[in-house]
Point group: C2
C-alpha cells in the first residue's frame, strides 16, 4: 500500500478512535438516563450528552477528515484489508448523508431528541399525549429536515428513514411483504379465534415478587449463554439491550407483579441481542464497522431466541422444573404442556411488547402505516391518538382506553421513525435461517439438552460473523442460499398455530 494512503488511513482511524470515545461516553450517559438518573437530573445530563455527541460530529466534519475519507473511498481498491474497504464505503455514505448538517445543527437536533425522550417519560407516566405532542412535532420536523439535507437521499421520503435501519429496504417492498402477511394471517387468525380449543391461562396472572423474577432472569441468561464477565443486567420501564463497548453489553428487563412471563420473554429477547453483540469479531470494532449490522438482523436474532427457541415446546420442557422451583405459587398445579400453551395463546391485545407471537406483526403494521402518514404530512401530530385507536380497532378489534396503553406506549418516536418495520423483518429473517440450521442438526434436541453452545456456535459461524460486512440481502443469501421471502415465516406460524389450536387442514 502506498505511503500516502497508509497515512490517510491512519489519520482517519485515529479520528474515529476519538469519535468512538465520545460516542462510547454518550452510550454510557444514555444507559444511565434510562436506568438510574433522577428525574430532575435528566436535562443537565442530556445537555452533556448532546455536547459530547457534537464533539464527535465536529471530528467527522473536519475538512482534513473529509478529504481523507473521500481519498480512501476513491482509492478503495488499493486498500489491502477488506474491512478497510467496507469502512471506506461506510464513511463515504455517511459523508454524503451529513454533508449539509453543521455541528451547530447537529447539536440542536440532539437537544430536541433528548427533550422528546424526557417529555415522553413524563407524558407516559401521566398518560397525557399533549405533554409529548409538541416535542414529537419537532422530532418529525427535524427528521424531514435531515432527509432534505442529504446528498444521497432516496426518492421516497420514508425510504430514507427505513434505509437508516435496514439498508436496501423500501416502502414498496414492505407494502408487498405486509400484504402477504395480511393475506395469510388474517384468515388464520379468524380460524384461531373461532377454534374450540381451550387454553388454560388462569395461572399467568398469579402474583410473583421482583426477587423471584430477578432469579428467573438470571437463570435464563445463564441458560442461554449470556457472558456475565462482559455484560450485566438491570431493570427499566422499557427493556432494551445496549452494546456499550466491545466487552460491555447490557440488557434490561422489567418486573410486573401479575405477569411473570413478561420479564421472562423480555430477558430472552434482549439476551438474543446481547449474544449477537458479544460474538461480534473483535476486528469489526477495530475497523469501526461494528455498528453496520441492520436492526432487522438484530431483531431476527433477538426474536430467534425469544420465539423460535423460547416459546418452543422443547425450551418449555427444559425450563419447566426451574419455573416450578422459582415460582412455586404460580406453577404448583401447572403442567409443562399447559405452560407451553399459555405462553403461545393468541389473543389480540393493546401493548406491542406484550403481544403474542402471532398477532405481533399486526402491531408493527399499525405503526408502519402511521409512520408513513406522519412523514408524508397527510396527518397532523394532533391526529395521531385518534388514528392510533382507530387502527387498533380495525386490525385487532380492540381500542386503547388511554394514551399510556395507546399512542404513548413506545419510546421509539422520541428518536425518530423507520425502526418498527425491522421488528417484523426480524421474524422473517430468522424463519429462513432456522430452516437452514435445522438441516445441520436437530435444534429441538439441542434445546432439550440445554446445549446452547451448539446453537450459539452455529449462530456465530453463520449468522453473526458477517453481519457488519454485508447488506441484509447478501447476508441472508449467504446464510440460507436463498433470496429473502416472508413465506418461511408464514409457513412456520401456520404450522405451529394450526397444531396448537387443533385446526384441520
Amino acid at each position: 500500500m502506498i505511503k500516502v494512503l497508509q497515512e490517510k488511513l491512519d489519520f482517519v482511524k485515529k479520528t474515529l478512535h476519538d469519535a468512538e470515545s465520545y460516542e462510547h461516553a454518550c452510550r454510557v450517559l444514555n444507559f444511565d438516563q434510562e436506568t438510574i438518573c433522577p428525574a430532575e437530573g435528566m436535562e443537565e445530563q442530556g445537555e452533556v450528552r448532546a455536547f459530547l455527541s457534537n464533539k464527535a460530529f465536529e471530528l467527522y466534519k473536519q475538512p482534513e477528515f473529509i478529504a481523507d475519507t473521500e481519498y480512501l473511498y476513491q482509492h478503495k481498491e488499493e486498500l489491502e484489508d477488506p474491512l478497510d474497504r467496507i469502512l471506506a464505503d461506510n464513511l463515504h455514505r455517511e459523508y454524503l448523508k451529513t454533508k449539509n448538517i453543521t455541528p451547530k445543527m447537529d447539536h440542536e437536533f440532539a437537544l430536541i431528541y433528548n427533550k422528546a425522550f424526557v417529555n415522553w417519560v413524563n407524558a407516559k407516566q401521566k398518560s397525557d399525549y399533549t405533554l409529548f405532542a409538541p416535542a414529537l412535532e419537532k422530532v418529525r420536523d427535524i427528521e424531514l429536515k435531515k432527509i432534505a439535507l442529504r446528498e444521497n437521499s432516496l426518492p421516497g421520503t420514508y425510504d430514507n428513514l427505513l434505509d437508516d435501519y435496514e439498508r436496501g429496504m423500501t416502502a414498496d417492498a414492505l407494502d408487498k411483504i405486509f400484504d402477504a402477511c395480511k393475506k395469510r394471517l388474517v384468515p388464520l387468525l379468524k380460524k384461531i379465534t373461532e377454534s374450540k380449543k381451550k387454553i388454560r391461562t388462569d395461572f399467568m396472572t398469579r402474583p410473583v415478587t421482583d426477587e423471584q423474577q430477578k432469579q428467573m432472569a438470571q437463570y435464563l441468561l445463564e441458560t442461554t449463554g449470556f457472558d456475565f464477565k462482559r455484560g450485566s443486567f438491570t431493570t427499566t420501564e422499557h427493556p432494551f439491550t445496549d452494546g456499550l463497548g466491545c466487552n460491555d453489553v447490557r440488557v434490561t428487563t422489567h418486573y410486573y407483579q401479575n405477569m411473570f412471563s413478561s420479564s421472562m420473554f423480555s430477558i430472552i429477547h434482549e439476551c438474543g441481542h446481547a449474544l449477537f453483540e458479544m460474538h461480534q469479531p473483535k476486528e469489526d470494532w477495530e475497523h469501526y464497522i461494528n455498528g453496520e449490522k441492520t436492526m432487522g438482523m438484530h431483531e431476527s436474532v433477538s426474536r430467534f431466541y425469544e420465539n423460535r427457541i423460547g416459546r418452543s415446546k422443547a425450551f418449555i420442557n427444559l425450563i419447566y422444573n426451574k419455573t416450578k422451583q422459582i415460582f412455586p405459587e404460580v406453577m404448583h398445579d401447572v403442567s409443562s404442556q399447559e405452560l407451553y400453551e399459555a405462553l403461545n395463546v393468541v389473543r389480540p391485545s393493546l401493548v406491542r411488547t406484550e403481544a403474542d407471537e402471532f398477532t405481533y406483526t399486526l402491531h408493527i403494521i399499525i405503526r408502519y402505516e402511521l409512520e408513513k402518514l406522519i412523514v408524508s404530512g397527510k396527518v397532523t401530530i394532533g391526529d395521531l391518538p385518534g388514528l392510533w385507536n382507530e387502527t387498533y380497532e380495525k386490525y385487532l378489534g380492540i381500542r386503547p382506553q388511554n394514551d399510556k396503553e395507546g399512542i404513548l406506549q413506545d419510546v421509539h418516536w422520541s428518536s425518530g421513525f423507520g425502526y418498527f418495520p425491522t421488528y417484523a423483518l426480524g421474524n422473517m429473517y430468522n424463519a429462513m435461517y432456522y430452516d437452514t440450521m435445522s438441516r445441520d442438526f436437530d435444534i429441538e434436541q439441542a434445546v432439550l439438552n440445554g446445549d446452547f453452545s451448539k446453537i450459539n456456535g452455529w449462530m456465530k459461524e453463520h449468522v453473526w460473523k458477517n453481519a457488519n460486512r454485508e447488506t441484509p440481502k447478501e447476508w441472508l443469501l449467504e446464510i440460507t442460499g436463498r433470496d429473502f421471502s416472508a413465506e418461511p415465516y408464514l409457513d412456520y406460524l401456520e404450522k405451529k398455530y394450526t397444531a396448537l389450536y387443533d385446526i384441520g387442514k
Copy 2:
C-alpha cells in the same frame, strides 16, 4: 466592570462550562464503573474516561485560558460578584498546581489511577495484595511526581496531599489533634472494655433479605429528607455518594445478610453527604465553585447524620417501630433501648466502615500513620500488609487474617493519599456545630418528632450555605463563633460512652 475584564470572564466561564461537561460525563462513567459496568468492560470504559478527563485538562491548559485566568486574578478586586473573586482565586491556585503537568502526563496519570482501581477490585475479590501492589506503587510514584511538579507546593510532602482534601490542614496540626485523641480515648477505651455492662447483640447478626434492607434504606432516605426527584440510590461494594450534577446526587449502600445495621448506617451516612450537595446554592454551580468545600466539611455532615443523629436514642426511638415492621425476624424480642445499645456497642474490629463510633478514629490514625510512611519513602509498598497488620494489633489489639479484611479493605489508595484524616476531622467539626445548633433548638425533640425539615433547615442556613466559599477554619468560626478544637468531640464521646457503659466519674 471594564469591558476587557468582562470579556475575559465570559471566555473563562465558557471554557469552564465545556470542561464541566467533560467532567460531568466522567462522573457518570465513574458511577457506572462502580455500579454496573461488567468486569471486562472496565478497561475500555476507563480509557474513555481518561480521554474525556484529558479533554477537560487540555481546556485548562490553553494559553488563552491561562492568560485570562491570571488576568482575572490580578484584577480580582475589580470583579463585582464576590463569587467571581472566589473563582479567580481558585483558578490561580489550580494553575500553579498543574502548571508543569502536560495533557499527555495528565492522561497517563488517569490511566494509572484507573488501572489501580480495576486491580484493587480484582485483588480484593481474590484477597491477594500482590495483584494490587504494582499498581499502588505507580500511584505513589505519580502522587510524589505531581507534588514535585507543583509551583505552589508546600514544604512538607504529605501536607500537599492533605491540603488537596482539607485546605489549610497540616501534618503537624494533625499530629497534635490525634495525640489529644489518643490521650483521652485510650484510657476511656480501657474503662469501657473493663466495664461490667452487658450489651445484648445476639440479634444483630440475624439474617435479613436484600429486599428488606432495600425497604429500610428507602425509609431512612425518606425520613431524613432525601429528595428522590434529584437523587437516586443503588448498591455497590463500598458505599459512596456522587454529586453528578446540580440536580443529580446519588447514594449507594450494600446489603449484608447477617448485618442489617451496616446498610442502615451506610445509607444514613451517604444521605448526609447527599443532603449537603442537594442544598448547595445554585449560584455555586453557576460560578464553578461547587467543588470547593473540603472533604472534612463533607464528612462532618455525613457523620452528623450517621452518628450524632442516627446513633442517638431519639433517632432509635423514632425508627424503632419501623425496624420491627421491616425486620420482624430480627426485632420481635428487642426493645428500643436494646437496639440503641447494640448500635453503639464499642468493640475493636478490623473493618473501618463497620467500626463503632468510638474506635473509628483509631482506624483513621492507622491509615494516617501508614500514609505518612508511604509518602516519606521510609517503607516500601511490599512492607505495607505487614505494617498494616502490626498497627492494627498495636492500636486495636486485633490482627487481620487476610488481605481483604486488612490492607485491601479500602478503595481510597487506588486514587491517592491524604483523604483518610478528613473522616476524623469531620467528627470533630460536627461536634462543634452540634453544640451551636443545640443552643438554637432542642435537637433531640426535633429528631423524636421526625422533624428533619427543622434540622436540615438549620444545616442549610448555617453549615451548608458558605461551604464552597470559605476555608474550614473560616467556616467553623462563622458557624460556631469558635476556633477549631477536638475537645467538643472528645467531650461528646466521653459523655455518651461513660453513660452507656455506666462508668463512674
